[in-house]
Symmetry: C2
Subunit: 105 residues, 2 copies
């Protein structure tokens, strides 16, 4: 499924994948355990995990007959950095407001 690389932006675009990340942030889980939280098939979850793996947001290790996935949040720094650039265009509005208030006193 999808030989081309998925980046972190695409990986988090899907709500199911975001929910999977949320789950894995609490506790490492097998594919079946993750599937139990969603109304879709195990195969579909496995595909989502594949996309998250391509984006290096999770990794899975085989243990016996099951595969345990755990969160790898580091690639989110790319997202954070991208966001940081845009913050100057709206969080600044707060500091401008602050100045207005300060000028008022």
């Amino acid at each position: 499924m999808t030989a081309v690389k998925h980046d972190v932006f695409q990986a988090i675009a899907d709500p199911t994948r975001r929910a999977v990340l949320q789950l894995l942030s609490q506790k490492q889980l097998t594919i079946s355990e993750i599937t139990a939280h969603f109304p879709i098939s195990r195969t579909a979850i496995a595909k989502h995990l594949g996309i998250l793996s391509e984006a290096r947001l999770v990794s899975g290790e085989k243990v016996g007959r099951e595969k345990i996935y755990h969160l790898h949040p580091e690639p989110l720094t790319e997202l954070k950095q991208w966001l940081a650039y845009f913050e100057q265009f709206w969080e600044n509005k707060l500091s401008i407001l602050k100045h207005v208030v300060e000028d008022d006193e």
Copy 2:
């Protein structure tokens, strides 16, 4: 083009759309001006602007025969908040390290 709603996560998933946001952060631009920066058709750019508009990241006002688009970065707060949750799972590693160093002194 896509009657269903696009959220901010989907909106920023595409690299062209991220580049458009970047452009609009510098200066408001017409559709044609934006198109000049990309190797794709004006129609394609207009569709991307439609998706960005659905996510409330941009808005366009008709001025004469052209339509001027400007950035509306506020919806990115949703992304920022989502990210904030995950930061505890990796930025913490720095503070743990910090403790180790502090314990060393």
